[in-house]
Symmetry: C2
Subunit: 646 residues, 2 copies
């Protein structure tokens, strides 16, 4: 009997949903039993599965199209646009293939690298466009292999525009998008999700609308997973196309491409490229206001909103694809008015996740990179496995070196002149530095009337959560405890809390109070005396640029400082203070003084020497108050330190 029922047990367990078990062990003898609880199904699903799940749940969604920028500066700006627009919750973004811009190269403006950045550093589900005409099979395969290596999982397969005016088909070459679809499926099996283009009015070069439908059907039957359409101006254009597709036996998702008119010239250019005709009723409105950008944009938003409403109301449309032209305002406005923009994005984890498939199970990180998640992702990009469940006491986390502080996705969004205005054209002493830190915390203008909206350790204004600590932080920064990271203690707030919540609803989140700062050796000496009183309660790590390291961490074990308890799940503990990683972070944190701040000034200048002095002589300190249910004692520790100094 025992045998029989055990078999029924195995049967029932093998038929279970397999979400998130990719790292689960198949047998008890498997070494790694620490698979990640499925907190966020999105991290584990393919794009086509996400689409299906959203459709089944009746959730409407949107996606955003961008093109690669022309300059390195524009790339920096585009990445911050990804971050901002990513917060609205697109199901995916896509990056167009720019044949003239060396699209598969390692240049920071290439299609490949922009898509790579969106996936890995911005955590966005991303489709990379790829065109095939005028390219060899080997070129194409090389691009696809590279895309796969970088963690890209979705390709938009296009023909592309022929080089010359008179185009002839090449024998054995790629002449149509369908050839590319077939090639991807034959070389990469089911690895990629494939998207193809649909033309609601028929492709301009097609013999007929019907012939074009037949081509589309070929692409789908060759292995495409879904269709995104060319832009159109009237909802009925799309709805008719959709019905014709269905009648032709095309059953995959068809996503309408929406183009909010944003200006007269961009409209004209796009129409020219796509060989579409603008309907007379639109021309009639636009022509009279063609020099009034704001008016055109307002009209474009109105028009897009009303068209999208009609599409959604038809019941045939579940997602909308926006041609953003790399601009934010119009598209965001349309999405907000449609109620599709996610006003209160739920964080799946307290830090920004990466969408690289190999990082799917990652759910623990050291707290140190909280404000520099892209740097953390960069420095761990060579890892094959990522901590989940526990950080573990790995003796050698093998962080990559951060030699290049000017990688475009790690670079400050602010140019040198702006940084100088914020951080001081001329420093007169350590106190001028204290003042910069204090202004960053308070949000008040510095003595020259400029607000300090970023720091070398944090390219964004103060986090909402940190605002909870603002008064304390202001006080201590004024006196030379130069804080770069902190979190309040939290004793079981709902996971839906707008400020400190993360993860699915119905859970509870917890934190230990954390404070990280630079301070002079005088302060550190006093601090160490004070810490004796708090020996059992406060864990500390104190290190200078030379690596002299003072700590009371037991056996150099990591200390979990953020964790969450969810219904029907194992405990999630996404943030730890890891003593070993701290020594790697220390290198980066000290180097930022020089790379981001000191180098703004002339060599040998007094300002530069002040920063250099701090770099050479200050200590980096982190403190954890283990007694999370009690009032945070770290402010008392700091007060006691100042008192001892007086």
């Amino acid at each position: 009997m025992v045998n029989e029922t055990q078999q029924s047990c195995s049967a029932s367990s093998s038929s279970r949903s397999d979400g998130g078990s990719s790292s689960g062990s198949e047998s008890s003898k498997d070494n790694s039993r620490c698979s990640t609880p499925v907190l966020d199904a999105d991290r584990h699903e393919r794009l086509r599965e996400k689409m299906r799940r959203r459709q089944e749940a009746g959730d409407k969604w949107f996606s955003l199209e961008f093109f690669p920028p022309r300059t390195a500066n524009a790339a920096v700006n585009l990445i911050s646009r990804f971050d901002r627009m990513g917060a609205g919750g697109p199901l995916f973004i896509d990056v167009t293939w720019h044949p003239a811009g060396d699209p598969g190269s390692d240049k920071e403006t290439s299609s490949m690298i922009i898509a790579n950045t969106a996936v890995n550093y911005c955590g966005l589900e991303t489709i990379l466009h790829m065109t095939c005409c005028n390219q060899t099979k080997d070129d194409i395969t090389g691009h696809l292999q590279k895309a796969k290596r970088l963690g890209l999982k979705n390709i938009m397969a296009l023909r592309g525009d022929p080089a010359g005016e008179e185009w002839e088909e090449e024998v054995d070459g790629f002449n149509h998008a369908v050839d590319l679809v077939k090639h991807i499926r034959s070389e990469f099996d089911d690895y990629f999700d494939i998207c193809v283009a649909g033309y609601p009015k028929g492709h301009p070069e097609a013999e007929s609308y019907e012939a074009d439908l037949r081509h589309l059907k070929e692409k789908v039957f060759a292995g495409a997973d879904f269709i995104i359409t060319q832009l159109f101006f009237r909802p009925e254009t799309f709805l008719k196309f959709m019905k014709d597709c269905q009648a032709a036996g095309i059953t995959c998702p068809i996503i309408p491409g929406i183009f909010p008119i944003q200006g007269y010239h961009s409209l004209r250019q796009l129409v020219k490229l796509s060989k579409l005709e603008v309907p007379q009723e639109i021309k009639d409105v636009i022509e009279p206001i063609k020099d009034n950008d704001a008016a055109i944009r307002n009209y474009g938003v109105e028009l897009a909103v009303s068209m999208c409403r009609e599409l959604l109301d038809s019941g045939m449309v579940h997602g909308l694809h926006f041609y953003t032209l790399n601009r934010e305002v119009a598209t965001t406005e349309v999405l907000k008015r449609l109620g599709l923009w996610n006003e209160d994005p739920r964080r799946p984890l307290p830090w920004a996740v990466s969408a690289h498939p190999k990082r799917r199970v990652e759910d623990v990180r050291p707290i140190f990179w909280a404000s520099r998640p892209k740097s953390y992702i960069y420095r761990t990009q060579e890892w094959d496995d990522f901590p989940n469940g526990r950080w573990g006491n790995s003796s050698s986390p093998a962080f990559g070196e951060l030699k290049d502080y000017y990688l475009f996705y790690l670079k400050s969004k602010s140019p040198r002149e702006e940084l100088l205005k914020m951080w001081g054209e001329e420093l007169t002493g350590e106190e001028s530095v204290f003042e910069v830190f204090t202004c960053y915390i308070t949000g008040e203008p510095n003595r020259n009337g400029h607000r300090v909206t970023c720091m070398p350790w944090n390219d964004d204004p103060l986090a909402t959560e940190t605002n909870l600590l603002k008064d304390h932080l202001e006080k201590v920064n004024r006196r030379g405890i130069l804080t770069i990271n902190s979190q309040p203690n939290i004793n079981g707030k709902p996971s839906t809390d707008p400020i400190v919540g993360w993860g699915p609803s119905g859970g509870y989140v917890f934190q230990k109070a954390y404070l990280e700062f630079f301070a002079s050796s005088e302060i550190v000496t006093a601090l160490l005396k004070v810490l004796k009183k708090y020996e059992l309660r406060v864990n500390y790590h104190i290190v200078n640029v030379k690596g002299q390291n003072i700590t009371n961490a037991p056996d150099l074990q990591p200390n979990a400082v953020t964790w969450g308890i969810f219904p029907g799940r194992e405990i999630i503990q996404p943030t730890v203070v890891d003593p070993v990683s701290f020594l790697y972070w220390k290198d980066e944190a000290f180097a930022l003084w020089i790379e981001q701040w000191a180098k703004l000034y002339e060599e040998e200048s007094p300002s530069r020497m002040i920063i250099q002095y701090i770099h050479d002589n200050y200590y980096l300190v982190n403190l954890v108050d283990n007694d999370f249910p009690l009032e945070n004692c770290l402010w008392q520790v700091v007060d006691d330190t100042f008192e001892l100094l007086n």
Copy 2:
């Protein structure tokens, strides 16, 4: 610069204490990053390291010697003695080698199996004695290999008593304990900690006291780690011996063997065996009271306490080894009077750990076996790796079958007659069963005046923790919700809490409320209706003996129901409700109805048919209230169910 300091980081991290990192990864590319935080150094240290650490910390300790029992019933009793005396906190126990009793065999009374049970099922650090004379090298190696395989880590290397009166040394054989020490070191390197015997008065067969000291020194130099002495009657005997050893260059720990006199005959027998002479002053006291066991024991306790005090006060003695003669009272009394008995043993984890080295990192178990930890250990003994950090969603935990419910360490301590008195000589219906469950909960005598101190699912009286729920439990059992496991919700009590605390001090422990019971299909039907109201709050698993399984657990993921937050540590979550393991536990839980209860009655008897009916028709249900910070809602769920039934 970044390079340089990274190197200094690696240097500092490699010089760290290595406690508990045996499963830690050496590189980030290692698959398993989930090593266990060192909650309890004891689990990771060798016996000789524990001794050194205790000595350095100035902690006095004790150890206990037992001999293998003669009968299977005596083995059952000895194992419960291990559990009771283990609670007092011995540093180790040792099991003597009984050459006449087939000591290396698989019999439940063999030295090997008793030591195996102590290590694996009672979680005790254990030394197995082994004698070498009259045995071949192959025999000895076989015994040692088996000991290693079973998880034994310490050997007491002895010569043993020669078979005949006239003993001759064998060429190339084992003639002295030192030969066995050398053999262990040459064949097993440093795997075992080795103990040897010391004779404070010299070995009775030695040429002289000095010659015996030389033999002892040889044994130590051949690789012994510490010495336990033969019993003695005067503290000065040991202290002189200790000084002589030190003078002879023996520096390893020397532990005095203490023999509390427990009776006239046992003293005479031991003295005869050990060829020792009882001092006149002791004889003078004992002879007049030789027929008064209690008086002799009291005297023996007094004598032992005063001798131990003198030894400890000398500053030369850090641990005391007790020859228990398998009895509890006298030794426990001596230890309590010396203040060495651990009155409030701290639980390192909420469940009873095993001392097998391969289970060192184990820190997660399903809650189902909470009252049958030995069965859990038995059913997982073939696992090579044990869950730590997370249980993970392993699809096939591969539990061993539990074919033999009569394994002596899984057997009930109570004989059949006693069980019948507790559970009813004759059952008249399901209500008689409800009554047994209710009496077990309340502790009140049943209708025949017998207290129910154990149940098929729990061989011990109700846990203190369960007492917190007593009133509720009584109410529901009376009405046919037959509870077999439960825990209250706990929202952050200190880890030192005497009832629910575990782990090191300074931490906080948490629990989700849990309730597990058998119930009729009528009750289950109503329960399922009620549970709809609690869908987001309560996770349930409901299964019958045939394996029909109803659950709302997301993706069959485990639910952590006990966890602890400690200073400077990652989160520990030792207990989960694992949906897959539940189906294995179900087999065991249902089988216990038949194996432990139904089989007490004649086949075809009405009593047996009642139990068989319950086994065939009832459901096993578990409920978890995920909202641990709120008042436990499971009682409300049950009340609602009863209300619906009315």
